[in-house]
């Protein structure tokens, strides 16, 4: 699907085409995004929200257009609920530093899950250590699904916040977040959804979900690196203190007193990645033109095909067999370490991820030091899956 839109996928190594199966780490970029980035620096580059000259006004307008487009894309109420950051990681840190600083106190509790990426564990752990709060952890089943009964039982009068992934970067599990959000609210807790994995593959409606915060990165959604988004409900953002201090985030400054700008400016100190934000708009339009529904369908077809072929592969064990999954498949081969598999596949110009996937607690849960992960983007097709299977046969032959 649309492979020809991605110049990087046209390259070969020793006559072998690039088989890119690591979109969960980062997606490749379509020509329209590369063109938008280049066009910005050739024709529009100026600092935003400052200059009265035409160039700056144009850059500001394009930058704000992306915000407006994201608002519509995820169905937020207002564009002031969309804050630009460097990535999903920074968005989570922002919430931990600002919302956490004033709302999480000694003996309070934060609920996360076993399947979280380190970026949705470490900021909360740091916050807990700072204020004397505690982390509670949702268990998962052998197939890689959240244990909702146990989740319910984790709540106490001290629970202030839940932070969970919309989808797992290792298992591919799409979590029942709408239900989980409802449960959190019934216990008067706020909830942050880490959408880094889900955003590029699913339709997101933050009002329908009713989540308090939703975070994602542009680079996993066919946009540039260095841009991420924090969505937050207006009433929460209004009460949060600023994140970093600097230009843009103030109303007035004197040495005696500073008054802060309103959201989103309050959280966007300094010059942001203007070119990246503007080019991200091209990625959003690209996704919109293809249609999220079509992307989902295509990736589900690939998931089904690959899961079937891999489950028939000798001495291969799939890890993560939830009913609802993204196009992410992790596995281990008997007696061959994932790093060796990764190196041998790389030799055939097949890019997969091998390692702990920034999810060490999850590796422990499944009692493996590492896994091989294959993850699909909209540009993958069945020839990529066939190439992977040939590569895996070569791996076993080399080790036989």
């Amino acid at each position: 699907m649309n492979k020809h839109d991605f110049p990087i996928l046209q390259q070969t190594k020793n006559g072998k085409p690039l088989v890119y199966l690591d979109s969960s780490a980062t997606s490749q970029k379509p020509q329209v995004v590369i063109d938008a980035l280049r066009h910005y620096y050739e024709h529009t580059n100026a600092n935003i929200h400052r200059g009265v000259y035409e160039l700056s006004e144009r850059a500001t307008k394009l930058y704000e257009n992306t915000r407006e487009n994201i608002k519509n894309f995820i169905n937020a109420k207002k564009s002031s609920e969309i804050i630009f950051v460097r990535g999903a990681t920074e968005a989570i840190n922002l919430v931990a530093d600002t919302y956490g600083r004033i709302n999480i106190k000694e003996n309070d509790e934060i609920i996360i899950s076993t399947m979280e990426h380190h970026s949705n564990i470490v900021p909360w752990k740091l916050l807990c250590e700072k204020v004397g709060a505690k982390l509670r952890v949702i268990s998962i089943s052998d197939s890689g699904e959240m244990d909702l009964d146990q989740y319910q039982k984790l709540f106490s009068a001290h629970t202030k916040l839940v932070a969970i992934a919309h989808a797992s970067n290792v298992l591919g599990t799409i979590n029942p977040i709408k239900t989980m959000i409802k449960i959190a609210h019934e216990h008067n807790a706020k909830i942050l959804i880490d959408g880094a994995q889900a955003f590029p593959h699913l339709s997101i409606d933050v009002q329908d979900l009713d989540c308090d915060f939703y975070v994602f990165s542009a680079h996993k959604a066919y946009g540039p690196t260095g841009v991420g988004v924090l969505y937050g409900k207006e009433e929460l953002l209004e009460k949060m203190p600023p994140y970093q201090g600097g230009g843009s985030m103030i109303e007035t400054v004197s040495f005696e007193k500073i008054t802060y700008a309103k959201s989103p400016a309050k959280f966007e100190a300094g010059t942001p990645d203007i070119g990246g934000v503007i080019a991200f708009n091209a990625a959003l339009n690209y996704l919109k033109n293809i249609g999220m529904q079509n992307i989902m369908q295509h990736e589900q077809d690939l998931l089904k095909d690959a899961t079937q072929k891999l489950s028939e592969f000798p001495e291969l064990k799939l890890i993560g067999t939830a009913k609802e999954k993204l196009g992410v498949i992790s596995f281990v081969l008997k007696d061959i370490h994932p790093h060796d598999v990764g190196t041998i596949l790389a030799h055939d110009n097949i890019a997969v991820r091998a390692g702990h996937h920034c999810a060490m607690p999850l590796m422990q849960r499944f009692n493996v030091p590492a896994m091989v992960r294959v993850s699909f983007g909209l540009y993958n097709d069945k020839t990529d899956i066939d190439a992977l299977l040939v590569g895996l046969h070569n791996t076993q032959r080399l080790f036989a």
Partner: protein, 149 residues
Amino acid sequence: MNDLRELYQETIIDHGRHPRNFGELCDATHHQEGFNPLCGDKLTLHLREKNDIVEQLMFEGSGCAISMASASLMTEKLKGKTKNEIQEIFSAFHEVVTTGDQKNIEKLGKLAVLIGVAEFPARVKCATLAWHTLMAIIAEKAGIVSTEN
């Protein structure tokens, strides 16, 4: 497939699958843990030293074929050596696997099979984990050794 065969020579696959000197050492004088945070591989070295000579060297842990084979071949090679001799072999090994330079390769014996690693920069840390762990014992460092320090 040829340069892959260079990396995964028979000896490496054999030692990776059936590591020698694998297990605990009950009369060890030193223990040291090593960790590669990039991939999560862990190993523990057990060593018995007498009069500056490493009399026995064993290891436990799990990892890729490269890291297991390197640890296995290392324990075979270094048994009975003095600390100074070990230091010298480590330097030669380190140079071979990071640069692919053959000039000190005869000092390595069977360990020379790991020269292919030099062509795969992402895998150098796999080959050197056991060695960094051992060098921490030799240098009497405290705490867990990381390939990132």
